[in-house]
Amino acid sequence: MRRLGPAVVILLLIPSVASATELSELLEQGRGAGYTAEQVISCSTPDGVRDALVRIEQSGAEIRIGAGVPTGTEVSVGAGGWALLHQGGVVEEATITGSSATVESPYEVEDLGAESFLGRDATAHRLVRDGVLRAELVFDDETGALVRAVTFDASGDAYCVRRFVSFDDQDPMLPMKEPSTLSDVSPVEPVGTTFPESVTGFSRVDQYEDVDGFRFAYYSDGFFSFAVFEAPTRVALEEVTTVTFGDRSYQRVFTAGQAIYSWETRNRGMALVGDLPPDLHQAVLEALPAPRDPGLFRRIWRSLFG
């Protein structure tokens, strides 16, 4: 896997839209907090363990997330959106706007009571969907920050554990990013797309189309989420695992916290990127356009020109 860093993502949090009252209330608690923390992410995926260590700085509604590996070759930044940096220089960036559509969360929230985390008072909760435990969340009482989150596969096995390993509740006072340098990416209604309105309990919240000619739709169930991409070309993944669901074959990569699938339809490249547990992958993929042989001419073209 290619090593990138120090990846920095500045994420501007827009005021909450909607989710189940209890869950959204919990998640809202920490939005105004100011702190600096280090977080370990460890995911047990079907393709092996994926780990990462990130540094998080939150000040008000803005969050900066940086990788712990300072190779300085490539950076991904968002400031209410995203940007790609190369050796410190911005090569591409854009703001992104979410729609005001609401997602009816199917999760029940169970209170697990008080506990101590990193020597601080905290409260634990459990998210259950359709009788299946899907997440355990621990919130810092003073700041409301989500300091530990464990997501589960349907079998009850932990999928990803994200937890703070250091926590400083001093506000880091993040510098403001210049919004004028960013181009806008707002929800659109792309013509001729094949994004279904809902996919096995996930609702299509909004969809986007950019100047590069690829489109994506964002799906959420109120906690887990994924994006489905349509690209004019094949999506290039490195060090992939080929997986088959029924008669459908996909290329897959896991990172710490994300699963990425890519495949081709007759005339488009497709990809799915999301944080949903592995047991949900097959059902979601089967609800999307199926992999198809790209055809003779595309294969000839590819063999001639890459």
């Binding site: 290619r2 990462a52 260590l53 990788a67 992104i96 964002y218 999506v235 990172t255 944080d275 001419f297």
Partner: protein
Amino acid sequence: MSHPSEMISAFLDGELNAQEAAGLKAHLGSCGRCAGELEEFQRVRSAVRSLPLLELPAGLVSGADAELIPLRRHRGVMVGAAAAIVALVVAFAAMLTPPSPTVSIDDLSSRFGARVSLDPAFGPAKVVVPDWETEGIEEE
């Protein structure tokens, strides 16, 4: 050596061995008639080669006679046909395949990460991590 017209023709066709060729070259250097004949052969040969190749109508020659058509003409037709087919395939592929930008995992992850950050379910502990790798992480 008298005037070896047949050897001149064979020489142009590359059919002489090294010893015969050397002997002929020595003769050409001292025989104006044969040297002129060589020039004439070369001129006629060039003129013939510059003529367009025509495909014979089916049935114009019998099957037996058709086998006597020089191999070079067959080869030219085959090369031309192959080139035409390749050109057609490339042209079709070019028409059917639009120019494509590169789409990488980083492009997708950053877009997904940006969008998920706007979602109410996003929290600092539910971070979307870009595609980088860490090693030797020791949890406290």
